[in-house]
Amino acid sequence: MVTATYACIFIMMFLMIIIVDMFVAQDSFMTSFKELMAGRQKLLAYIGYGLLASLISDIGIARRKRANAASQEEGASK
């Protein structure tokens, strides 16, 4: 869930800054995209770190859920 939310927010925000740029600079979508990203490809590493962190969060949440379910089952069987 965290990863999916992360991806959605990233896409929405990225689209938003391109649209804002299109309004201000009166450019087309592709021109705005290319100009905003010009020489900044290295910054995509940030998105990688974020993706990694959200995947770790999701794995942690899933493990905790499984542990909770197991302990509840154990409690019910006792």
């Binding site: 927010i9 800054i17 804002v20 974020g50 949440i61």
Partner: protein
């Protein structure tokens, strides 16, 4: 899934968070440039216009004690429209966090770290912000409590040093209303009202839910607006009286330029680090508050504790901060042309006003009840 702790803020903490928040980037970039010499007057009018907004927000939150604006939107407008508006607020808060961060990066590049790449500054700061957000709202409250005395002390020190160095010329503020009321009103609505005044009710919409006595939120909000505006007016008067209105409008960071001119007895000079420190405290808190408001909105939508989002979302903010504008000029143009009209007004005024009207209609006293009461 962990159950989020019931976090609480004291009224004093809420007050200092709001004051530090208002000073934040307003100290860095200055406000009211279009009002020129009457920028201080624009700020006073903006603060007066902000009072009904604070009253409106606190009235709504008093109706639902302990609930943030996100819950109120969902309760009042239903799940779908409510969630859609909450996502809108999330995007808005995260964009503002990125915008303020770009101010910070530009200031650091201009004053302290000219050869450090923006990416490094962004990543370092956002890692700290992610940790602050992970620790929660109480940590932000305590952080503001620690920062506030320093901010006050440094502001007073800068004013005193300016006075002692003889750089202040109050004639630069005259004539008052030289161009009439028109440019001031045009500057207040929507620029000054949107930034920094309208940001106060905006954070009150979420943070007021964390104080123990919600009925005291209105007083705290009003007091914070008054104090923050007063300190900003001092800063603006200082900037205009030292740099002149034209100099202030031309400068990217007017307070920094003021600090560069200070020379007391040819001994106390180059006090820019004082200003940089002042700005850093305010901006760190401001970015943290915007980010936590954003991730709390996400929690309201996807029902996952907001702490899980702190690091991933902080990385998006750092990325957007650098990518959203090609240059600092482009960044300022977006901030002055786009933000006030298309972002600040809808989220700070229109949506809360519509919600207020709906709640007013929903909770209006019926004739029977009034009759029973009298």
């Amino acid at each position: 899934m962990t159950v989020p702790a019931v976090e609480k803020l004291s009224r004093w903490q809420l007050f200092v968070v709001m004051v530090t928040f208002e000073l934040g980037s307003a100290l860095v970039v200055g406000v009211g440039n279009d009002s020129r010499k009457d920028a201080w007057l624009a700020l006073i009018i903006g603060a007066i216009a902000g009072l009904p907004l604070i009253w409106m927000v606190s009235w709504m939150l008093r109706l639902y004690p302990g609930q943030t604006i996100y819950s109120i939107l969902k309760i009042t407008l239903g799940k779908w429209i409510g969630n859609l508006l909450v996502i809108g607020y999330v995007i808005y808060f995260l964009y503002l966090a990125a915008y303020v961060m770009r101010d910070f990066i530009a200031m650091m590049n201009a004053a302290v770290l000219p050869r450090t790449p923006a990416g490094i500054i962004g990543f370092t700061l956002m890692s700290v912000v992610a940790y602050i957000v992970y620790l929660g709202i109480e940590t932000i409250g305590r952080m503001a409590e620690i920062f506030a005395p320093y901010m006050l002390l440094f502001t007073v020190a800068i004013v005193l040093l300016c006075l002692m160095s003889g750089e202040i010329n109050l004639h630069n503020l005259l004539p008052v209303l030289g161009d009439g009321w028109h440019p001031i009103i045009k500057d207040v609505f929507p620029a000054v009202l949107g930034f920094p005044i309208g940001e106060m009710p905006l954070i009150l919409m979420v943070l007021m839910a964390y104080i123990k006595r919600v009925d005291k939120g209105l007083g705290v909000g009003m007091a914070a607006l008054g104090t923050g505006t007063f300190l900003l007016i001092i800063s603006i008067v200082l900037q205009i009286s030292v740099l002149t209105a034209d100099g202030k409008a031309r400068a990217s960071f007017p307070l920094l330029n003021v600090a560069r001119l200070i020379s007391t007895a040819e001994f106390l000079e180059r006090i820019e680090p004082l200003v940089v420190f002042l700005m850093m405290l305010g901006i760190l808190l401001k970015i943290s508050v915007f980010t936590i408001l954003g991730v709390q909105g996400l929690e309201a939508v996807v029902q996952v504790p907001y702490r899980h989002f702190s690091f991933p979302i902080s990385m998006i903010v750092a990325f957007i901060a650098i990518v959203h504008a090609k240059s600092f000029t482009d960044h300022i143009i977006k901030g002055t042309r786009m933000l006030p009209t298309y972002f600040h007004m809808p989220f700070q005024v229109y949506i809360p006003a519509v919600l207020f009207i709906i709640l007013l209609i929903k909770h209006r006293p019926t004739k029977g009840k009034v009759g029973e009461g009298t």
